[in-house]
Amino acid sequence: MSAAIQPETFAFTPENSAAVEAIVRKYPPGRQRSAVIPLLDLAQRQNGGWLPRAAVRHVAEMLDMAEIRAWEVATFYTMFNLEPHGRACVEVCTTTPCWLRGSDAVVAALEDELGIRLGGTTADGAVGLREVECLGACVHAPMLQIGDDYYEDLSPEDARAIARDLLAGRAPKPGSRIGRPGAAPASGPKVLMEKKA
């Protein structure tokens, strides 16, 4: 964590400040520190996907809690990124179910297409590539996550297409690449057929 990239100060934008107020209001008076996770998340979103130290300090001050307490939360959850990692961060799941369904090939395709290794960021800072543990979408394995969106049922070719879109600055279409709805089997729904709308 080099000090050079850490901004000195952080402040919420006016829109986000309103959101902060709404979040804090959800909790009883004196219990406002319960809002620490949503506030850190909001700060991370505002700051382009990563959470600078100054933002953690700012949130701690807002919630009247010790800085170290907020820092403990920020370091505990892997979803908080404490350093910049590319404007779009590709997080590939390589836990057992995805691995059994070919996540190694997905990773290889992404590394090849992006020209970086896992944990790296492209030279222009546009795309970062990271390995993550299970994201809870095993039924659609192999899968990856970019921002808030899941990309599922991936073949190596799908992964390449996603990488090309990102490099070109296009937003790839989220969801299942074989078009299956919900958590249905790959060959289509088998039960609860009568409920079909």
Partner: protein
């Protein structure tokens, strides 16, 4: 009262007792790392596993499980032994094998428990993790690779010390104990995390690599660097104090010690007076005891008693103060004073100058009013006790004086004495709080009574105490928070000016005007030396501070670790300190110096041995018979009527780390002053 069976022995324990406590009551030792009886329960080290039935067929963490009626607890079954071995093996996976270069070696919980409960080999062949060291400041040395994540230090800082500055970041194998990024600890109790740390992750920085615990001679003694009278253990090697540790005393310091008391010992090795000096043509030169005594005797000869004066300093022990008083009486001098700060207290009513509630008694109070004191810097241990009471809830605290971070929430009521009057007359909201309290306590700072209007402030505080029922049959909520370890003893012995005598300010003024011909300073360094005019100054003490620089004769005395001496703490508790080693060089115990000098002038004091001095102490004041005990002081009228000024109360201690000749000579304290700052937490090592 649930009955449980521990290893076949049935015992009855209080409801809510944990299994670990029940096992201890049954006399069984349960190994533990994270559990500590004065901290909240974490339950994360898993070392205290025992077998409990009925219950799930697996070992249970005894520290976090309350007892239930009819439980069968086994602490030495095969399951328990196997579980402990497993936990120990896991703990040692990432713990380095650096015991030979670790300062904790020999007093390490991990070492001891690995020996008694551990597995005899490791099956772990992979690399151990390494953790970057953290900067905890000038007192606590870190070696974070050794940390086993018990979180005792985190809980201590948060709960007892009241500074949320340590935390655990990351998780799983990446968990690290750290301070707030880029900051050091700013607590005045930080040294206690060294004692709490069950491994060598947090060790003493000043003590680092200087000695092994088994080669030190351990002496149980009393701390004198504040007026709390914390119980300490002095570890010495030869004639050198290597470190100071707290000793358990539930009534005073529990098992904590303030950083000054713990780390100022290196001041005992610097600037010491270990030879006799006399001043010849403006320069101090070494001399013999005889020569020095003769020089003083010559000076005293023909000097009227009214022209002789003596001042006892803040670290003086009771034996030497008694000898000084007796010597001055023999010289017919009424000019004796032990109140260097000019406190408007006299020895007449004991309840007026002691902490009547007692330190342990704070926990029974239900409201507090702090007047002109900053307990955090004046008596850190007492402040921790107030915080402990505050954490239990239902304990409003009001402060009159300089606003400061006391580690608990305190309402600022006003800046000066006028607020006291407002309270008595019910003009302040806090009056209702005190009114509603069953057992309110008032903590009056020693700085508040050292003002010119101190006597009136004392009377006003007494009025507040009486107005709000702080003094009744079974409760005395009036407290004077002393900060000099000699003060209560000095007042008990009547080291105050006799009839027509001068107090400290009068002595200084008299010396400046030439009315006082000789001043005997018994370790008194906190008076304006420049103003002593042409008076002949005898300095008796252990440090070459300002007093010795001004002196015409320097008599080397013993520091508190070098003499068997009696001190009375702010509660009025008489305690005995024991010598950890002999005084340095030519230095002698202070009462003996005064006794020896009395012979030279033909006014021999009536005692030859320490036992005889102590017998005379009891004759002088019966409270000295109750060693380690508390003699409740009867409530009487005290204080002087008069007008109080509008001047706000000020914090009498600018710098917590340097308040006396010993801590002023300490390198560790100098470093604290520089890094943590006189202003407490104002700075840090940012970056």
């Amino acid at each position: 009262m649930p009955k449980v069976t521990v290893d076949g022995v049935e015992i009855e324990v209080a409801p809510g007792t944990t299994i670990l406590q029940a096992c201890e009551q049954a006399g069984k030792e349960i190994p533990r790392f994270c559990y500590h009886e004065r901290l909240s329960i974490a339950g994360n080290c898993r070392m205290c596993l025992v077998e409990v039935s009925p219950g799930p067929p697996k070992p249970a963490a005894s520290c976090a499980m309350p007892v239930a009626e009819g439980q069968q607890i086994k602490t030495d079954s095969p399951m328990v032994k196997k579980a402990r071995r497993g936990v120990m093996e896991m703990l040692l996976i990432n713990h380095p094998l650096d015991c030979p270069i670790c300062d904790q070696g020999g007093e390490c919980d991990l070492q001891d428990q690995a020996l008694f409960y551990g597995f005899d080999r490791s099956r772990f062949a992979e690399n151990k993790r390494a953790v970057k060291d953290k900067d905890f400041g000038p007192l606590v040395k870190t070696e974070m690779t050794r940390c086993i994540h018990c979180t005792r230090c985190v809980r201590f800082a948060t709960e007892v010390a009241g500074v949320e500055e340590i935390g655990a970041t990351g998780r799983g194998e990446d968990m690290e104990i750290t301070t707030t990024i880029g900051r050091i600890l700013t607590s005045e109790l930080s040294g206690n995390i060294i004692d709490l740390c069950p491994v060598g992750a947090l060790t003493s920085k000043p003590f680092a690599f200087t000695a092994r615990p088994w080669e030190l001679r351990k002496t149980e003694s009393i701390d004198v660097l504040d007026a709390v009278g914390s119980n300490i253990r002095v570890d010495a090697r030869g004639s050198e104090v290597m470190r100071v540790l707290p000793r358990l005393n539930e009534d005073i310091n529990e098992e904590w010690l303030s950083d000054k008391s713990r780390f100022a010992y290196d001041g005992l090795k610097r600037q010491r007076l270990d030879r006799v000096y006399v001043r010849d043509s403006g320069k101090l030169r070494e001399a013999s005891w005889d020569e020095a005594f003769t020089r003083i005797a010559e000076r005293i000869k023909g000097l009227d008693g009214r022209r002789i004066a003596a001042i006892a300093g803040d670290l003086a022990d009771c034996e030497s103060m008694l000898a000084l008083r007796d010597l001055m009486a023999a010289l017919e001098s009424p000019n004796v004073d032990c109140r260097q700060d000019g406190a408007k207290l006299d020895g007449r009513v004991r309840a007026s100058y002691i902490f009547n509630t007692t330190i342990a008694g704070i926990e029974a109070a239900d409201a507090a009013l702090i007047v002109g004191a900053n307990p955090r810097t004046e008596a850190a241990i007492i402040n921790a006790r107030v915080r402990k009471r505050w954490l239990q809830g239902g304990f409003p605290v009001g402060v009159i004086g300089t606003p400061a971070d006391l580690t608990y929430r305190a309402q600022n009521l006003g800046a000066g004495p006028r607020t006291l009057t407002d309270l008595v007359e019910g003009r302040h909201d806090f009056a209702h709080v005190l009114e509603a309290a069953e057992r309110p306590m008032i903590i009056l700072g020693s700085g508040a009574v050292a003002r010119p209007d101190g006597g009136a402030v004392l009377a006003a505080a007494r009025a507040v105490a009486e107005r709000f029922g702080a003094v009744k049959n079974d409760w005395n909520g009036f407290n004077l928070l002393q900060r000099a370890s000699s003060r209560v003893g000095g007042l008990d012995l009547g080291l105050t000016p006799g009839i027509g005598g001068r107090d400290v300010a009068g002595i200084v003024a008299g010396a400046a005007a030439g009315d006082i011909g000789l001043v005997w300073l018994l370790g008194a360094d906190e008076i304006p030396m420049d103003s002593l005019g042409s008076a002949f100054v005898v300095y008796q003490g252990h440090h070459g501070d300002v007093g010795a620089h001004r002196a015409d004769v320097v008599l080397p005395g013993a520091a508190y670790t070098e003499k068997n001496a009696t001190y009375v703490n702010t509660e009025g508790r008489v305690q005995r300190a024991n010598a950890a080693h002999f005084p340095l060089g030519a230095a002698r115990e202070d009462w003996a110096i005064l006794r020896a000098f009395s012979t030279v002038i033909g006014k021999t004091l009536p005692y030859n041995t320490l036992a005889q001095v102590r017998a005379r102490l009891i004759m002088a004041n019966p409270v000295f018979a109750a060693v380690d005990g508390i003699v409740p002081a009867p409530w009487q009228d005290f204080g002087t009527a008069g007008a109080m000024t509008e001047a706000p109360f000020i914090d009498p201690i600018g710098n917590f780390y340097m308040t006396d000749p010993i801590s002023r000579a300490s390198v560790a304290m100098a470093r604290c002053t520089e890094m943590i700052g006189a202003g407490r937490g104002a700075t840090g090592t940012h970056g």
